[in-house]
């Protein structure tokens, strides 16, 4: 099951169920802090790079305090990275104006903005993944719903997430069946087409049965979660502390400032 190992089906659920100081925080304050983080990161001008660096503190802090393995989040980031790279890949060709020089080499605005996009992608998606990993999708959705997210979106998000496992499970079983009878030969296109079609039909059937089972147990369009903990002092401190940090890091370039202090250039 090397393929299944690669996708790590269910790992996110396991991480979300662990217990740590970050896991115990209310889902809403974590969601709000992460939202503030994303807004702050996205509000920088397009050529900004150095001022973004202090923001790496947030996802790393979540992972460290939540015992989330760094390598796991990094692998997930890599899977999603083609999307971000596709957004910025043409910048270096379209924007050739040199905006800074590094060790005698002129660096064009295109390359700089491309790097900026890549860093922002790593920051925001990394923080969102860390958030899900140290909260659990169920608690996160319940928290978002209590903050006023329409019920239908919360349920959509949860079912999308749940059926992702259903469909990968079906796919893995099919691939195993194919591998065992293909004698190591590569698949022909026709076979692929048939496989994909079957996967769609199978996952629709299974989704239907899962839904039947949910309806049989009184599902009415809302997924309920137990122990919706109240917001305590620690939750408030988490939120206020991080938002204050984001504001400071947005208004002043901390990396630059730190560099000046170390090089004695003064602030």
């Amino acid at each position: 099951m090397s393929f299944g190992h690669y996708i790590e089906v269910g790992r996110m659920d396991e991480l979300g169920r662990m217990d740590s100081p970050v896991h115990r925080l209310d889902a809403r304050v974590k969601a709000l802090a992460t939202l503030a983080f994303i807004v702050a990161v996205m509000s920088f001008p397009r050529y900004e790079l150095s001022a973004l660096m202090p923001f790496f503190l947030y996802p790393f802090a979540l992972m460290a305090a939540g015992n989330i393995p760094f390598g796991y989040i990094l692998r997930k980031l890599l899977i999603a990275s083609p999307f971000a790279l596709a957004v910025g890949i043409f910048n270096p060709f379209l924007d050739r104006q040199v905006v800074m020089s590094l060790g005698g080499h002129g660096i064009s605005g295109g390359w700089l903005s491309f790097a900026s996009i890549a860093v922002r992608f790593a920051l925001t998606v990394g923080a969102a993944l860390a958030l899900v990993a140290c909260t659990g999708i169920h608690r996160l959705c319940a928290g978002l719903e209590r903050m006023g997210l329409p019920k239908v979106f919360a349920v959509q998000l949860q079912l999308l997430y749940r059926y992702l496992f259903v469909i990968t499970g079906e796919g893995l079983r099919m691939m195993r069946g194919v591998e065992l009878r293909s004698m190591g030969r590569p698949l022909r296109f026709r076979t692929y087409a048939s496989l994909v079609g079957h996967l769609l039909l199978r996952s629709m059937d299974r989704a239907q049965r899962v839904y039947q089972a949910m309806v049989a147990r009184g599902f009415d369009g809302r997924i309920r979660v137990m122990r919706p903990a109240g917001v305590g002092g620690r939750d408030i401190a988490f939120l206020v502390g991080w938002v204050a940090f984001f504001v400071v890091a947005r208004l002043w370039n901390l990396a630059d400032g730190l560099g000046r202090i170390f090089t004695g250039a003064g602030l």
Binding site: G10, D13, E14, G16, R17, G136, H138, R162, F165, R206, R209, V210, Q212, A213, M214, V215, A216, R217, G218, F219, D220, R224, V225, M226, R227
Partner: protein, 247 residues
């Protein structure tokens, strides 16, 4: 009012674009009875079960739970009264942990958290799986999954238990445990299965289905001993009924 009585009156059903799956099914099952529904593949057993909690609605005829016809207005209370255990436990278990899965039904019933917790634990204790409460369901063995799937339904305190192939994919020990469990329930039980030995041990009455109809109905031992009837509907006379001497 008791919900333990369940009745079908001349139920017809056809899947969209497909052949008729049920063609005039009638029966009445009373309080505390254990009834087996047997018949070959495609006889209409699963389709019939989906009618009993209102997931499918008959094209013609009606299903009555207690003394109420199952309609759009009564479907919520019918689902509370009739607990359905599906053939594949993987379809039934979809929450991140065993406990959350068992709590799913009671939470949907709008019970307070303390009651939900108490019910879920009691249901898991009943099937002997309380030690698995924190585990993710997809990591359990087939026998454990089946037991937990039954607990998810028991937690809703149904009057009638409806099961589709409860002993499929179980090893002999897990199957033996299941039979003991089924024998111990005081609920009205309706069990669709190919496991005729299980029917002999658990059910006092059987209904034989073929091509969308109930073709025979009566006391278990009498019906299953009828070799001709069994053969005619893709079944066989159970081994345990052939030999009355001890092995």
């Amino acid at each position: 009012m008791s919900h333990h009585v369940i009745e079908a009156r001349d139920v017809f059903f056809a899947y969209p674009g497909g052949a008729e799956a049920l063609r005039g099914v009638s029966f009445r099952i009373t309080h505390g009875e254990a009834v087996g529904i047997i018949g070959g593949n495609g006889a209409g057993k699963s389709t019939l079960l989906l009618h009993l909690n209102g997931y499918l609605a008959p094209a013609q005829g009606e299903v009555r739970i207690g003394d109420m016809p199952l309609t759009r207005d009564t479907v919520a209370s019918a689902r509370r009264a009739v607990g359905l255990v599906f053939q594949d436990p993987d379809d039934q278990l979809f929450m991140p942990t065993v406990f959350e899965d068992v709590a799913f039904g009671p939470l949907n019933m709008g019970l307070p958290d303390a009651d939900v917790e108490q019910r879920a634990v009691a249901a898991l204790e009943r099937v002997g799986m309380v030690h698995l409460r924190g585990r993710p369901p997809h990591k359990l063995s087939a026998g454990e999954k089946r037991a937990v799937a039954i607990a998810t339904v028991l937690a809703m305190a149904p009057d009638v238990l409806v099961m589709d192939e409860p002993s499929s994919n179980l090893d002999p020990r897990a199957r033996r445990r299941l039979i003991g469990l089924l024998q111990g329930f005081e609920h009205t039980r309706i069990i669709a299965t190919h496991d005729l030995e299980l029917v002999v041990e658990v059910c006092s009455r059987v209904m034989v289905m073929d091509a969308g109809r109930i073709v025979a109905e009566g006391p278990t031992v009498e019906l299953l001993n009828n070799e001709e009837l069994m053969q005619a509907h893709g079944l066989e006379r159970p081994h345990s009924l052939r030999h009355h001497h001890p092995h």
